[in-house]
C-alpha cells in the first residue's frame, strides 16, 4: 500500500485524515482504489474525461507526475503520493 497525503479540500471525504493508504500498480489505479474507500474523491481529482484536473498536482516521491507518466506513473508499495492544490505562490 502506498501512503497518500490528502490536501485540506479533500479531507471531508477522508473523515479528516491527512494521510491514507491505497493500492495500485500506477497512479490511475491508486485513484480508483481511493474512490472505493472514499466515494466521490475521484471526481474531485479528475475531470469528466478522467484526466487529472488542471489545478491538481500529484507527486510521486516528490516528482510531479506531469514530468513522469501522468496516470500511468508506476507505483511501489513504499511510495509516498501527495495530492496538492496547484494554486499557490507567486
Amino acid at each position: 500500500m502506498a501512503t497518500v497525503r490528502i490536501p485540506t479540500p479533500l479531507r471531508k471525504l477522508t473523515q479528516g485524515a491527512e494521510e491514507v493508504s491505497a493500492s495500485g500498480k500506477n497512479v490511475g489505479e491508486l485513484i480508483a482504489d481511493l474512490e472505493k474507500h472514499y466515494p466521490g474523491i475521484k471526481e474531485r481529482i479528475c475531470d469528466e474525461a478522467g484526466a487529472v484536473r488542471r489545478f491538481v498536482n500529484i507527486f510521486v516521491k516528490d516528482e510531479d507526475i506531469r514530468f513522469l507518466q501522468n496516470l500511468d506513473t508506476p507505483l511501489k508499495d513504499s511510495d509516498e503520493v501527495s495530492i496538492v492544490p496547484a494554486i499557490a505562490g507567486g
Binding site: 489545478f55 494554486i87 499557490a88
Partner: protein, 417 residues
Amino acid sequence: MLSPEPNRASFVSSLRCRECQRDYPKEALHVCEFCFGPLEVAYDYPAIARALSREAIARRAPNLWRYRELLPLDAPPTVGLDAGFTPLVRARRLGEALGHRELYVKNDAVCHPTLSFKDRVVSVALSKARELGFTTVACASTGNLANSTAANAAQAGLGCYVLIPHDLEAGKVLGTTIYGARVIGIRGTYDDVNRLCSEIAGRRPWAFVNVNLRPYYAEGSKSYGFEIQEQLGWRTPAHVVVPMASGSLLTKIGKSIEEFTKLGFVEAKGRTKLHGAQAAGCGPIAEAVLAGRDAIRPVKKPETIAKSLAIGNPADGPYAAQAIRASGGTAAQISDEEIVEAIELLASTEGIFTETAGGVTIGAARRLIASGAIPADEPTVLCVTGQGLKTQEPLAARAPTLPIIAPRIEEFEALIS
C-alpha cells in the same frame, strides 16, 4: 496615514471559484473544494460605485489604501499603511534609446518599505491575516515577498516563517533575516518550496500570504494598476509590459483596468494591450502565448538570472495567457545577456536601478517596440517592480575596476585628461 473618515460595511460579497463559480465564505481559503479552481474576491460593484469617486480618491493620502473600497478588507487596514503610490516616470531618454515617443516607467523599485511591488500584496495580506485573527504569517518566496513579509510582520508584531529556495541572491536573504523572521532554505526549486508550503498550510494554523490568503493577497496588485491609470490623468495606457512569474500581477493589472472602466473612472479608449515578459530560461507563460495556447507546459528546472521570475509551474499561467490574448497583446522571452544590458540601459537613461526582473521587462519592451508590436507613438507603461541593489550578483562581472589615485590635483588631472 489614512484619512479619519469611517470605513463603511465591507464591499466584499464572497470568495468565488473562478472555474465553477461556487461561493465561499470570506475565510482563509484559496481553492475550491470541488474543482480545485482558484478563489477570487467578489465585490458589490454597485455599492462601490455609490461610495467611491475619482474626487474622493484624489483627496486621500498617497498610498495604496486610497483605493480601499476595491481592496478585500472588512475592517480598516492595520499593516502597510504607507505602501504604494510610487512614481510613474515619463521615460524620455529611454524612449529615445528604444525609438518610442511616449514611454512611462511605473517604479516600484522604490516601494515602501522593502523596494518591490510585494509591499502592496503583503500590506493587504497581513491586514487580512490580523482581521481573521492569525498571529503567525508565512510565505513561499523567490526573495521579494520574503523581504516584504518579514518586514511588515516585524512592524505588526506577527510571528513570521519564510521558506525560500536555498540559492537566492545574498541581498534577498539578508533583506529577510534582518527583520528577525525564521527563514528556511529549501533544497529545490521555487516550485518545490511552493508544494511544501501548501502541505504545511494544511497542518499549521498560519496565514500563508500566497497560499491560504492568496485570494486577498493577489488583489493588492490591483493598486499598481489603479495608480498607473490615476497618474496618467485618469486614462488607460495603450500598452503595458508586465514581468510574469506566477502571472498574477498581469491578470490583476488587467482587472484594475476593467474595474476602473466599469466604475467610469477612466474612459475606455480602445483596449489596453497587456504584454507579458519572461526570461528565456523560464518562460512557460510566454511560450504558451507565442505558441497560441492557454495550456501551460511547466518548466522543470528554471535556469535564469531572473530568479524572482523563476516559477516553472505558474499558478495563474492559464489566466495570464488568456488575458494577454484577449487584450490583443503578446509576450517575449529575454536571454540573460539581454536582461543585463536592459538593466544597464534603464540605469544609464533614467537613473533607475532595477533588479533582474525589471531587466526582463525593459528587454521585452525593447523587443516589442523593435518588432512593431508596440507602435512608437502609443502610450506605453513599463512595469519595474523591484530594486537592483538586491540582485547584484549577475552584474558583478561587469563592474568596472575603479581608478584609485592619491588626493592630489596633479594625479586627478593626469587621469582625466
